[in-house]
Structure formats: structure tokens, C-alpha cells
């Protein structure tokens, strides 16, 4: 989408001359659509600053005084602070592991010459079609046997595994696209295969690494089911799980629950606002290749 920027800049004076009724309708319609996206978020933000009584006496007015008590309560008593930290640890470790392991396998498939490479690719790609629900029970019983249930490692392992297919798929595309001469050259200079992989091929596939990293990180950050099943200790829960538990039928303090929702989505929104174009295009590029 970057290339459209200068184009748009050139065309603006032309389009200003003839704003057709159709264009007006399109803009009004899109504006309304966007309202449905922003208004719910603003509503939650507004309510999260109120006291519980204000929600019912003046539901849509601005809060009388801005108080952060609700946020503080959700952060500490609701375990959302520790949950954010846990989510961060799990996602970063899973991201690093899946990127390294996945791109190594992708390099093996794309560049090394052996008979089974096509078969290996098919094997990994079937993973994309398999819903996580199917492996939940065997994984749960087995991890309990190994003492991995209720640990963050027990979450990281499946997260890495479920990120592998998409990583391998996208990175194989990037490695296949690299020119042969590069590897020949490096080989002539006396580099071994691991130097070629880590010092030449990986740095040249930065775009691919960015795309896959983004996809796996967002996917794992938002994952609920597996984390809910595997972790029962409040101090090891990830963000979606702690949130779902805090905002439950037994809680009656609405403004605290709304504050919890805001805490859960605000990191993603900030990162998204900062890099939205890169994120949107990156995720689409990954999906197009997938």
C-alpha cells in the first residue's frame, strides 16, 4: 500500500473538482461503518472511569471525576498485572523458538537437496488444517504425567508447535526466492552451511521473519482455550484467561470489569496504532501466501 501514497497525493486536486454524489454516499457509508467499530470501544473506555452507581444513573454521560481506582483494582486483585507479564513471557519465548526452529526447517526444505523434502512440507502443512481442540485432551493428560501442566513451558510447547506450519510455509517461500549465486559465492569463500543460513539467508529474509513473527505473536497473545485448560494457578494465567475469569457472572462491579477489558486490549491497540500500516499489510501478506 505504500506505493499508493504518492499516487493519491497527485490525484487529490483532480478528485476535488468532481465529487460525485456516489462518492459522498460511499464516504458517509464508510463513516457509519467505522462508527460501529469505534463507538463500542469508546463506550467501554468511558464506563471504566465511572463508579458503579454512575453507570445506572447517568449511563452515557462522561464520568464526573476521572478515577483510576478501577484499573488499579483489576490490575492487582484481578491478577491482570501478573497475567500481562505471563502473556508477554510466553509469547516472546514462543515467538523466538518458533521462528528459529521453523526457519531452520524451512531452509532444510527449500535449499537442501534430499528426496523427502516435498513429503516433509506436506507433513508440516497438514498442521494448518488441524484445529487445536482435537489435541487438547491427549496433550493435557500427557503433560500432567510429565509435570508440565500448570507451568508456562507447558503452554509454550504447543504454542510453538502450532506456529510452526505457517512459519515454515512462509519462510520456505522466501528461501526459495533467494538467488542461487549468493549461496555459491558464500560457499566459495569457505563459509559452512550454518554460516550461510544464519549470516546470509536469515538476514535477507527479514520481511518474512517480520510477517511470521507478527502472525504468531498476535495469535498466541489472544489464545484462550489452551491456556484455560492447561493453567489453573492464578499467578500463571495468561491475559485472556485472567480476563475471562475476572469478568464473570459472580462479579457485580461493572466498572471494574470494564477497566479489566480496557487493560486487556490497550497494549494491542497502542502497538496497532503505532505500526498499523505495517501490521495490516504484513498480516495480509502472510495470509495471501498461506
Amino acid at each position: 500500500m505504500k506505493s499508493s501514497l504518492p499516487e493519491a497525493a497527485v490525484r487529490i486536486p483532480v478528485s476535488r473538482k468532481k465529487i460525485t454524489p456516489i462518492q459522498v454516499i460511499i464516504y458517509v457509508f464508510l463513516g457509519l461503518v467505522c462508527v460501529t467499530y469505534i463507538l463500542p470501544l469508546l463506550w467501554v473506555l468511558n464506563v471504566s472511569f465511572k463508579t458503579n452507581r454512575e453507570i445506572f444513573t447517568a449511563p452515557f454521560a462522561l464520568p464526573q471525576e476521572f478515577t483510576f481506582d478501577n484499573f488499579a483494582f483489576a490490575w492487582t486483585a484481578g491478577h491482570l498485572g501478573i497475567a500481562t507479564l505471563n502473556s508477554f513471557i510466553v509469547c516472546v519465548v514462543a515467538l523466538i523458538l518458533s521462528t528459529v526452529i521453523g526457519s531452520m526447517a524451512a531452509f532444510g526444505i527449500a535449499r537442501m537437496r534430499w528426496k523427502g523434502s516435498k513429503l516433509a512440507m506436506t507433513y508440516f502443512l497438514t498442521g494448518m488444517m488441524i484445529p487445536i481442540h482435537c489435541v487438547l485432551i491427549p496433550l493435557f493428560t500427557r503433560f500432567a504425567g510429565f509435570g508440565l501442566s500448570n507451568t508456562l513451558i507447558g503452554l509454550i510447547l504447543p504454542y510453538v508447535t502450532f506456529s510452526l506450519p505457517i512459519t515454515i510455509f512462509i519462510m520456505t517461500g522466501f528461501f526459495t526466492g533467494l538467488p542461487n549465486e549468493l549461496i555459491e559465492c558464500a560457499c566459495m569463500e569457505g563459509a559452512n552451511i550454518f554460516q550461510i543460513f544464519f549470516k546470509i539467508c536469515l538476514p535477507l529474509s527479514r520481511t518474512g521473519l517480520f510477517v511470521t513473527g507478527l502472525m504468531t505473536f498476535i495469535g498466541n497473545w489472544n489464545e484462550l482455550l489452551l491456556a484455560m485448560v492447561f493453567i489453573s494457578d492464578d499467578n500463571k494465567k495468561t491475559l485472556p484467561v485472567s480476563l475471562s475469569k475476572f469478568v464473570g457472572p459472580y462479579n457485580t462491579n461493572y466498572s471494574q470489569m470494564f477497566a479489566a477489558i480496557i487493560i486487556a486490549i490497550i497494549p494491542t491497540i497502542i502497538v496497532y496504532c503505532a505500526f498499523s500500516n505495517k501490521i495490516v499489510d504484513g498480516l495480509t501478506a502472510g495470509a495471501v501466501k498461506g
Binding site: 467499530y37 537442501m112 534430499w114 484445529p131 549461496i183 495470509a287
Partner: protein, 295 residues
């Protein structure tokens, strides 16, 4: 160089970590899951082989019937609605010049947000005392609808609400896929069609639609698998209630497996889900994917 690339040891080093993880955490558990689905396995005792009993029990389980119906409704609704609305947004956005990125980013935003959090958000909007009902109360409507508590109809009102929330959340994904494909179409094709006197609708029907067909297959299979796996939104909006009316396969599996600890029975539901995913993917790729055009 050839010798280096054929070196068995380095091939093994490259492939082994991924292969071990994939086999241990994904492949063996699936085989195990299929085996459990033929077993009487309640968690405390070891699994005992009982043949097809779990699968015959599925047919007499009323909740499974509802869950299956809802999953199918969800599958069809999300495929059709995302195709139509996503394509519509994509066409609108490719036809405007200023502000395209802004609209695009706003519509895409919920795709990256946690659906657990968004599910809770919409649960509050449709809850009996908050959100929309407060708005209706302000307008003087005495008896507002029950929204997520309604149980009437073949496809209940809560199911429709969840389906529309899912559309709201994920339509950005389809929209972006179609936009990427549409902006890849050669502009001279459109110019030629205008010279030949085509209307906007005709160019859309005869140029845009055929050329984005491969992407329709991709987007549809992403939607289909996504909607079969669907869990977070429903779990946080209704938890399958009221009276199991909004149960889908994934929530039913969770209930049976991790609330009642019927591991064998839940595995059978999981196998049904797996088979559905495979069938749907194969079906979409067979039917929609046709010849690729030069662009």
C-alpha cells in the same frame, strides 16, 4: 557446493527440532485422540476400548445436535456474509482515494484484538441492564428484548447476534485479502473496458470477479476453518447458554471434556470437528479454485 547441500548430517540438524516437536505435540496426540474416541475414558481410570459407543451416543445427545446445527449455521453464515460484505468493503475502498488507509485500518482493528475481550465487550452491550437496553430505556421503550437470553426459533436470536459480532470482528481479514487481489489487477484491463463502454457494474462482474476467484477460495477456506474452530466469542458471550441453545462443537467439547471429564466422549466430538475441517477445506478447494488467469 552440491556436496554441502546434500550433507545428511546438516539436513538432519535443520529438520530435526521441528520434526520432533511436530510429531510429539501434534501428530501423536491426534492419533491418540482418535484412539480415545473409541474408548470409555473418564480421566481417573485408564481408557477401555468400547468400539463405536461414543459415536452412537453422539446421535442421541440432544446438546450435540444443537451444537452441530449451530456450527453448521455458523459455517454457512460466516462464509457467505464475509464473502459478500468483505468484497463489498474492498470494492468501496478501492474506489475512493483519500482516507483509504484510515478506513482500512479501523475496520481491520478488531482482527488483532483478543476475541475473549471483545466477546465480553459485546456481552455487556447486549446484557439485560446495560448497553443497548439502557439506550432503549432512554427512548422510552418499556419492554426491551432479552437479546442473549432469548431462546425462541430454530436458530435462536443469541446465535444471530454472535454471528454478526463475528462478522464485525473478522470481516477486515476478508476485506484485506480481496483488496490485495483487486489492487493487483492490471489497470489497462479497466481502461479497455471503459473504452468499450462498460458500466461500472459490468466491469465488476466480468473483470474483477473472475480475476479474484483464486482469492475467494483462500478467504473462504480461512473463514470456514476459523468458524469451525470458533470458541472464544461464544464462550465469553453466552458460555453456550441459555439452556445450551448457543452451544457449538468447540464449546460442547470443552464442556464435556473439562467440566464433566468425559475424555473419550469429548475426543469423539474432536474427531467429528477434525473430519469436518478436512471435508470443508477439500470441498472449497475443489469447487471454487479453477484456472488461474494471467494478470
Amino acid at each position: 557446493m552440491d556436496k554441502m547441500l546434500r550433507n545428511k548430517v546438516s539436513i538432519i540438524i535443520f529438520m530435526l527440532p521441528a520434526f520432533i516437536l511436530f510429531t510429539l505435540v501434534l501428530f501423536i496426540p491426534i492419533v491418540q485422540s482418535v484412539y480415545y474416541s473409541f474408548c470409555d475414558y473418564k480421566g481417573m481410570t485408564d481408557p477401555v476400548f468400547i468400539g463405536f459407543d461414543n459415536y452412537t451416543a453422539l446421535f442421541s445427545d440432544k446438546t450435540f445436535g444443537i451444537a452441530f446445527k449451530n456450527s453448521m449455521f455458523f459455517l454457512v453464515f460466516s462464509c457467505v456474509s464475509q464473502l459478500i460484505v468483505g468484497l463489498f468493503y474492498a470494492v468501496l475502498l478501492t474506489n475512493i482515494k483519500a482516507g483509504r488507509n484510515l478506513f482500512k485500518n479501523i475496520i481491520y482493528l478488531p482482527c488483532v484484538l483478543s476475541s475473549a475481550a471483545l466477546g465480553l465487550l459485546w456481552m455487556f452491550i447486549f446484557s439485560p441492564k446495560l448497553g443497548i437496553n439502557q439506550l432503549l430505556e432512554g427512548m422510552g421503550i418499556e419492554e426491551p428484548p432479552l437479546w442473549l437470553m432469548d431462546t425462541k426459533g430454530f436458530i435462536t436470536l443469541p446465535m444471530w447476534i454472535i454471528a454478526f459480532v463475528a462478522l464485525w470482528q473478522y470481516v477486515g481479514q476478508s476485506m484485506m485479502l480481496y483488496m490485495a487481489q483487486i489492487s493487483g489487477i492490471n489497470k489497462s484491463l479497466y481502461e479497455a473496458s471503459y473504452i468499450d463502454g462498460c458500466t461500472k457494474f459490468q466491469t465488476f462482474r466480468h473483470i474483477t470477479l473472475p480475476l479474484i476467484r483464486p482469492m475467494v477460495a483462500t478467504a473462504l477456506s480461512l473463514n470456514a476453518i476459523g468458524s469451525l474452530k470458533f470458541f472464544d466469542l461464544i464462550f465469553n458471550m453466552t458460555e453456550g447458554g441459555p439452556n445450551h441453545k448457543t452451544e457449538v462443537l468447540a464449546t460442547h467439547l470443552y464442556q464435556q471434556g473439562f467440566k464433566y471429564f468425559k475424555y473419550g466422549y469429548a475426543s469423539a466430538i474432536g474427531v467429528v470437528l477434525l473430519v469436518l475441517c478436512l471435508i470443508v477445506t477439500l470441498f472449497i478447494n475443489k469447487v471454487v479454485k479453477t484456472e488461474q488467469y494471467e494478470m
